[in-house]
Amino acid sequence: MKRLAFAYHPDYLLHAPPFEHPESPERLLAIVERLRTAGLLDRLIPVTPDYAAEEDILAVHGREYLEKLESACRRGDLTLDAEDTYLNRHSYNVALLSAGGAVAGSKAVAEGAADRAFCAIRPPGHHAGREAGMGFCLMNNVAVAAKYLQARHGVGKVFIVDWDVHHGNGTQSVFLEDPSVFFFSVHEHPTFLYPGTGRRWEIGKGKGEGTTLNAPMAPGAGDDEYRLTFEEMLTPAVERFRPEIILVSAGFDAHRDDPLADIQLSDEGFRFLTRRVAELSDAYCGGRMVAVLEGGYEIGSLTSCIEIHIRELLGE
């Protein structure tokens, strides 16, 4: 059995919508409750996140954006420029703590306190670019974790797998020209789903050409199509790149019950995704793997898939 770190902080619940919104604190409450009743919580190594350090955030976001975000929260703005991305007066600090959760999970794995980590964090991060939050995301948690691992733990090559149903446009933009971080995203085709990027010919730029890989899926695709994509695209990419650690932008909104998209993954589909990435991390990076929560908005499928995800990470 693997030692699995679990990064969570009760303050994650403080970032709460001022109007009805799918990205709500109830998501995390339900996840923790599910893990407790399933008897899994006691088997995890709890790590308590701290606010991400300024220099770790600045490695991903511009100071101007951070100042704008902080003052918007202080002023009591209800949303960012992107109207779908709400704020309250806690949001800036909670976003720092969310990035800090991804950092804490990564730290536990990098220092060997755990084999793998799951970071139950919010707000999510993968749409946030250097100068803009959007799509419910304020700071790019997985990007901050990747930069942190490189800066503080001497990690060279990082591989990010983003299986959230939406394209991780923020993460892609941060690492577009960076050959040391491979970004692989599988998502519903951009013609049909937000944010409208992640086409198959987006493969990175300059020195980073070839270390971005996008797998847009047709609406209605499910377990079989994802399985094939993992075998034919993800596996060879990891084999070629030889990362030292794999980070996962683990969204669960590609589930067939999720209302925000048209992909039809089942619970078993998510078991396969987790297992395959875990196998790849075992084969190529000493088992080091850190999953951070992104989307997933239907509480039933979100909690059941996360239970499966945790069981697979534990290597039951």
Binding site: H21, A82, P195, G196
Partner: protein, 213 residues
């Protein structure tokens, strides 16, 4: 339309014209006289076509080809009958002209016949990408509506009640008679409540899994 255009005089050599086309990264170049009026158009294909007969002669070398290009004036090879757009033509006019006359570029002329710009197929594609809102952070919703006045306004009102910007709209026919399809790009990830409200208003949301890419 591109306003910074590369032109060439009828008296210039094909060699010079080819250089200008390479520099400007264009495949067709308006030919203008001293008064700036359009005299013809020259494409890279015209140049290749002019060299080709020589290439079939045995012993025709690269140097011979270069000499031929230097010795042949543009005016001898250019197409004189040019399909042009005027400053008052619309993008729609330009698209129809390019399609109906099978041309790759339209020089744009003013009332005096002077060349003021050029529209290429690439420009048209760029305009389409822009109009369709591709590349803007947005979600797409496809709605099937009855073919009667007022439905688009009704849908726009529903969307605006969610304080969401519409970044592009496309309304087209639908395979079913008496119906039309409206495509919206809207600046939000949170489409589920908007789709629900549209359905509750009696419209049909097209399930994207039902049509192929």
């Amino acid at each position: 339309m591109q306003r910074n255009i590369v032109t060439v005089a009828p008296s210039a050599s094909l060699f010079e014209a080819r250089d200008r086309m390479r520099e400007g990264n264009v495949r067709q170049i308006p030919v203008t006289g001293g008064d700036g009026r359009l005299a013809g158009i020259l494409s890279d294909r015209d140049i290749r076509g002019a060299v080709l007969p020589g290439g079939l002669v045995p012993g025709f070398s690269a140097e011979d080809a270069e000499k031929f290009l230097k010795d042949t004036p543009v005016g001898k090879v250019m197409t004189r009958k040019v399909i042009t757009a005027t400053l008052s033509d619309t993008l729609e006019d330009a698209i129809v002209l390019m399609h109906d006359f099978k041309v790759n570029a339209l020089p744009v002329v003013d009332r005096d016949g002077k060349v003021v710009g050029i529209i290429s197929r690439t420009n048209v594609l760029e305009a389409f990408i822009d109009v369709l809102g591709i590349g803007e952070v947005s979600s797409r919703i496809e709605v099937i509506v009855p073919d009667k006045p007022g439905t688009l306004a009704q849908l726009a009102a529903i969307i605006s009640s969610f304080h969401v910007n519409i970044t592009s709209v496309l309304a087209t026919g639908h395979v079913e008679a008496g119906k039309r399809a409206n495509f919206f790009r809207i600046a939000t990830l949170n489409v589920a409540p908007i789709k629900k409200a549209i359905e509750e208003a009696g419209f049909e949301i097209l399930d994207p899994s039902r049509y192929t890419l």
